[in-house]
Amino acid sequence: MSAASRGRRGVLPGFGLSTGFTVLYLCLVVLVPLSTLALRSSALSWADAWRVVASPRALAAYRLSFGASLAAASANVVFGVLVAWVLARYRFPGRALVDAVVDLPFALPTAVSGIALTAVYARTGWIGRFLEPLGVRAAFTPLGVTIALTFIGLPFVIRTVQPVLEDLDPELEEAAAVLGAGRWQTFRRVLLPAIVPAALTGFALAFARALGEYGSVVFISGNMPLRTEIAPLLIMTRLEQFDYAGAAAIAVVLLGASFAMLVAVNRLEAWTRARTGHA
């Protein structure tokens, strides 16, 4: 390696060692394993793959996974922006504790979340017993799945929107007030455009996480095929039956969908950012 090319990258030592190790690790841990996924699913003929991927059971699983994830991520956007707003702008007793609590779904292992949510929302659970007389059943229904997915996606929206709100220059609002805008107008025209890109990012992260979530959901869902079986569980079942190819096929569908979703949201985000001029 000539001195010139070495210098072009930067003069600190260790480029070869650090980059080489990083690339090697990534290949071993990420690329090779992912490629086996692609290869395995290609072991099926198109017809067989279609049969697995489009079976009624699989379709029900996709509907549930996507639907519940979408609903959960949306709920998280609404409430997440609310919580982020409250945390960033108001001072009230116990605020620091609330701030810490927000991270709990992220830090708690999924199995623990799963049994905890079931304990709360089951028919005899802490909240579940109040919902029962109202005719609302949470456990063993798609509602329960949605509740669980809302739980684990909660921190994503809050933690992306909160810094944006905290970094907002108070002078923006002061300028709006001096120019004659009321509080609601200021919120709608000045603050919301700043929040939207962050909220979209949070939505995408929450959605992606919810789509692949397993541990928190399998306890409260009841895992009834065609009714409350999520896509990851379907994959699990296939694996237990040693149908690797089938499992791989469904996994590819799932990955493809979340990838497409992420790309779409990224585009949307970039478009919003360009339109509102916010970083």
Binding site: A4, G7, V11, P13
Partner: protein
Amino acid sequence: MSISIRSLSKAFDGHPVLNDVTLEIPEGELVALLGPSGCGKTTLLRIIAGLETPDAGDVLHGGEDVSARSARERNVGLVFQHYALFRHMTVEENVAFALRVRRRSRTEVSARVGELLRLVQLDGHRTRYPHQLSGGQRQRVALARALATEPRILLLDEPFGALDARVRQELRRWLRRLHDELHVTSVFVTHDQEEAFEVSDRVVLMNAGRIEQVGSPAEVFEEPASPFVMRFLGAVNVFQGRVDGDRAYVNDLEFAAPGAAGRAPAHVYVRPHELEVHRAAAPGSFAARVERLVPLGAAVRVELSAPTYGRGAVEAELDLRKSEALGLAPGDRVWLSPRRVRVFTPTPEELDSLTASEL
């Protein structure tokens, strides 16, 4: 140790930053690289230090080609604009760093560190951390740290840029005196003309990756080699005219234009303090109207308009005594005679940009 830079070129991501730069700095000289942001002065300094590699050209330290040597092996002292002190080490540990990584003995290290801290007058602050020091003190620690291994070349990247004006002044003078005592070949980067003039033996004016002029502060101020140099080093009035042979003409005024030849459009540059103000017409003067008087402390800036001699304002500078003697007021009609001018025949691009902006 002398520094030799030969035909250095460097581009970042396709943008050229240095363009065939050649410079000689003899041993023991204190040289300022002066120029606007983006002119390449910091890049040049970093190349001398070995923190960037040039795309083409050589760097010699004391006659030896060091282009292939890493920054670690060049033994230069480098002072960063934002100090780059090791924030988790005390003042003492910072200054001792270069010696410790060379595994010098403990006694040697502590003796040398003591010497250096006494030199920069921070002996009483040995055990403090950088965040407990003021900006000026941090910079002195950075200097002491750079001098630890007795480098034969000292490089400073806008060393006073991040400091208060008063502290800057003090440290400037102090640096000059330090250099007078130690005689280490030094190069420092600045965009502040006053700083460059006060501290350095010679000034290197840079613009857009090229060296415009090299010379002592007096030389570059009195005999600027290009319009850029003249404008960078202070306010200036520019008049459109033409040259014919070795004379320059602006309307009906005539000036000597040594070195010009032929006929071409030209610009005549006059510094505000070399524009005399008279109450009555005098030979070689032109009429103008006083628009505004701006007191600047020891001098007065007179803003005038002379529509036939340029579209923009004309600026003259008078010392307080002269201004009082004249008793000027806005609206007065006066005559201006340029005492000293410099004539430049601009290139076509310069012509366009100048006419667009200020004449």
